[in-house]
Symmetry: C2
Subunit: 343 residues, 2 copies
DNA sequence: GGTCACCCCTAGAACGTTCTAGGTGATGGT
DNA sequence: ACCATCACCTAGAACGTTCTAGGGGTGACC
């Protein structure tokens, strides 16, 4: 017995006693077939279990109606965005193709497969690639960068107002009476520079001295930075971490050093990922709205593809962040109660 | 100016002054071209930036060499497996296609797109679908289920020895002097039944009474179960949660109730996801080896596809788990020190 | 009765590849 | 001189779809 091939247009046409072209017309739902034939063909197709072959469709059509999405498979925030992208693409007539970045699979590789799949535009979530590389890519097809601010010709960006987010956090801390606030930055991670600058500006606005130390996006970075802070001369009453994951490293190190959070030191994260909401961690953090960002990113890509060429200037969509106050921040301790190094 | 089309075989052929067929031969690396021509064609192709069009290749060939992977985009453990699958597929000549399951995108939908993409086999990570649905799917193409035990005709499975894992955890606790151990189960989540049974067996092996309460796979499930436990008459000295995420809910509720972990109650998770390793959580847990499972799953799929038809019986690959001891477990408290409800 | 418009339908050429079925010469054995 | 064999090459038919160009009909209007 030979394996039962999937039915094709020709099979439907033969069984319905019409031409392939007519079946194609009916399947695409375009005008040009009589109601009687339309109904019969549809019935035969359903009977045979016909489903069009996307490969052949794409080969013939110039358009693929595919939106490529690059994301970090281990990044919780990316997962939120991906979920939003699927939802947003639903109504646009575009299909979503995923390509993951892992330790062993660099961004260039992930994007290469998206290009090979004939995606018409790519959405890159938190890309680390160089500006020039992104510029080159944007010369080939519409590129929307999500969760990273970028000023590259032809590249659209959808990002959180990082500086404003940090500002909210600083305002919150100042309101609670904190004045010695340290920012653990994200090195050259996406948005790190914006947050660093936002921190400086916000502190100066309050007449306070901004102190930053170098950190990173992993928990270990937060832990190491915290160790350095605790060993240093200037003990803060509050710490602003680059992101939630970094903040968990901070919390951990403080916890092990016997520092009470938030009684002695308040801690603030960034992203409002799932981990921040775990009540065991209970982190005050700056929320990035993944679903809104996803929707905007899809809109941008679709506008580029469907719209006229007038939209040639890259657009920068900024989504307002929100402060989510949880249990890791409280009033600044009075000086005598603040944490002191053991003699 | 018209947009510069990507080069095709015909372009290379024309520029090299040979036939399309010969270029195809050279590009595929099959014998049948003179060294001189081979070199020249390769050079022209590289010059033009020719890359073969996968759509056309697939249309022509009966094989697609595509492996479909369904995964939960929010599941950290799935991310580990996906990473492993990419790595394992690298050497097999198969390409990986991802399809995510989200709240708004059910498994049936995710698999449907994989089928539409002409995947030759699908790897399903922690599927919740019914056995009969999976059986039907397996009639169409090779199906490998990862991280769920399943006994369905034609469906391969790669899973952790759940019962053994739970056994390791129970042994560990008994060794530490615990005797009142409660298992918060996973309801009908993948593997939950195995773990429940494994728990019962292990406890009985030690001559102890197994007590289970119903839980689930989210943190909220762990939290609710813990509240019920704390309100009930039989206070345990140790809690075994269905998975790490559930365990974080347990930890949180205990923490809020003022119960010291591990001094008064020890807690054990399952999976060894990233969150367990966060030193702020520091959870003793049963490790599932994602990369080994991924490798086995890819091997099974490829064996089905490349191998002869003799391999018709479904195979069940069981991966040994390992106990990862961290800070959430310690010696059982002496009775007078155990946690007592306030009057 | 011509011709114009319209509706319904079909033949056949694309799309970019793979692959079968040859077609050259050149070499070598008889 | 003839046939094999070989190494190299090419024409052209697939694959399953879309889409252009056009082929009847039928009815309406001059």
């Amino acid at each position: 017995m030979s394996k039962p091939r999937r039915p094709v247009l020709a099979d439907v046409a033969k069984q319905a006693g019409v031409s392939i072209s007519l079946v194609s017309i009916v399947m695409r739902g375009v005008p040009g077939a009589s109601p009687a034939n339309r109904e019969r063909i549809l019935e035969v197709a359903a009977n045979l279990g016909y489903v069009p072959d996307v490969r052949a469709q794409m080969l013939r059509q110039e358009r693929s109606h595919l939106l490529g999405v690059m994301f970090g498979v281990q990044q919780l925030f990316h997962a939120d965005v991906v979920e939003g992208i699927y939802a947003a693409a639903e109504t646009t007539g575009y299909e979503v193709v995923l390509s993951a970045v892992t330790d062993a699979r660099p961004e260039s590789r992930a994007v290469a497969t998206l290009l090979a799949d004939h995606c018409e535009a790519v959405l890159l979530i938190g890309p680390q690639s160089s500006k020039s590389w992104l510029t080159d890519l944007a010369a080939r097809l519409p590129v929307v960068v999500v969760a990273r601010s970028i000023n590259a010709p032809g590249v659209d960006a959808v990002r959180t107002a990082e500086a404003k987010g940090i500002g909210l956090a600083v305002d919150h801390l100042v309101e609670l009476g904190h004045s010695r606030v340290i920012h653990i930055d994200g090195g050259d991670a996406p948005g790190a520079d914006q947050r660093r600058r936002g921190f400086r500006a916000a502190m100066q606005r309050h007449g306070l001295t901004p102190v930053s130390v170098s950190g990173g996006l992993a928990d270990i970075d937060g832990a190491e930075a915290t160790s350095r802070i605790l060993a240093g001369p200037n003990l803060p009453t509050a710490v602003l971490a680059y992101n939630d994951r970094c903040a968990t490293g901070v919390l951990d190190t403080l916890y092990r050093a016997g520092v009470k959070v938030p009684a002695q030191i308040s801690v603030v994260g960034f992203d409002d990922t799932h981990v921040a909401g775990l009540s065991h961690i209970d982190l005050t953090t700056v929320r990035q709205d993944a679903s809104v960002m996803a929707r905007l990113a899809v809109q941008r890509a679709v506008a580029r593809l469907d719209g006229s060429d007038e939209q040639r200037t890259p657009r920068d969509s900024v989504v307002p962040p929100a402060l989510v106050v949880r249990g890791s921040t409280s009033r600044a301790p009075r000086p005598e109660k603040a944490w002191k190094r053991r003699e």
